[in-house]
Symmetry: C2
DNA sequence: ATGTCAAATAATATCGATATTTTTGGAGAG
DNA sequence: CTCTCCAAAAATATCGATATTATTTGACAT
């Protein structure tokens, strides 16, 4: 009658599962940019039907990680220097807007959230934990989420993910230079807690520009 | 060698057809905000199968016109004053960025395109043609497309569509005050042709803010 | 009356199979 | 030897049906 004693705590949807798995594969470069994504091949890889795979791919086009060519299937989104630089530029513009709005709405709960996220990120970083990537994103998104601007947050989250992809492609992993990144994060955090919007955005943008230049130099030119 | 006297502009895909039709229905308010979008109901309305409907709805979530609730189907995205104001703010920020980049790349071909789009929009407006809406969007997008920043263009296009929706919801049609809108468009065009980025963005933002305030006043508060 | 629970109903998510379309490979003509 | 065209193969898009999950209904006890 039924299949398994399934643990109800988790998300039980073939489509959503396929979405998360495919997203991971594309972000890490295991499905390389420009590659044709054949339904049958993915169906076997993810051990599910064709319908969930198709829907997951459709959802990934929203995130600009997959391109859909009508009547000709799907492919992993291509990469390039121009694309990378557009992402960098948009992140600077949009995250500055979001961060300033967040600081404008600053309150005690937000500060608590920031401190906590920062702490978790530090812990994960020191232990080289595999969830450092998640903690890093959580900290950055926490900086922005007090703006209460859901569409802007969505854009920033999308762009963040697209940027992760370039990090993996450039370095083969999340092991980009961790030297003074801790200090940069600390500067952003301190400025945000001081509610100094100018300093916070300056530090944030410097943070992006410096890692951006490092990645950009590694690309083709 | 070739196929048929069939125009290549014709899109032969049930999914894409359903996408265009559903998009239209949501933008014009025929499928009202918050409404549950039942597959079976849409399947009959669009005279197609369930798979194309599902995929079209998935694609519309990218455009933020449809919300997907896992295991509980789809619904037309809700509306609200906060949402409208976020759209307005994002449009001002993003279109300013794009317009400045467009002007930075200004050349003769772009100027020609602008003049042409503006002319077509005027013609359609005077004749109250039903394609004024399309011509209006084409003019506004032409202002931005010389930036050669595809993601930014995509965001602007999405936000433009979301704004159309509020116009229809507020007025029951595209008949918002046409009084001095022609003059506003002329000002934007002239400034762009003069490659005066400051003036062009100022006029563009004024244009959005004034129609924005009109719509905002009509909403709930 | 009212709140709870289980059966009935309705809708979604998924599967397997088929129809269409694109791509591939090779034979024949120039 | 190259190009064109047609048949074979592969892949996509779509359909119809089923299994799963959410929602409603109504009986029953409090």
């Amino acid at each position: 009658m039924n299949v398994m004693p399934d643990r109800d705590s988790k998300e039980t949807s073939a489509t959503h599962g396929a979405y998360l798995k495919l997203r991971e594969l594309i972000l890490t470069g295991e499905l390389p940019p420009g590659d044709k994504l054949k339904i049958e091949q993915l169906r076997k890889l993810l051990e599910t039907g064709a319908s969930p795979v198709r829907e997951a791919l459709s959802l990934l086009t929203s995130d600009m990680l997959v391109e859909r060519i009508d009547q000709r299937g799907f492919r992993a989104a291509p990469v390039g220097k121009a694309n990378f630089e557009e992402i960098l530029m948009l992140r600077c513009t949009l995250e500055e807007t979001a961060l300033r709005a967040s600081i404008r709405n600053a309150d005690a709960e937000w500060e608590d959230r920031l401190v906590l996220r920062h702490h978790h990120m530090q812990r994960a970083g020191l232990r080289k934990a595999p969830d450092f990537e998640d903690a890093h994103k959580a900290f950055h998104m926490a900086l922005l989420d007090n703006a209460h601007l859901p569409m802007l947050e969505r854009y920033c989250s999308q762009l963040y993910d697209l940027n992760i992809r370039y990090r993996y492609l450039a370095a083969g992993g999340p092991s980009y230079k961790k030297r003074d990144i801790a200090a940069e994060h600390q500067n952003i955090l301190d400025a945000a807690l001081n509610r100094d919007a100018d300093a916070a955005t300056a530090h944030l943008i410097d943070h992006y520009r410096s890692t951006g230049e490092y990645l950009s130099s590694q690309m083709d030119g």
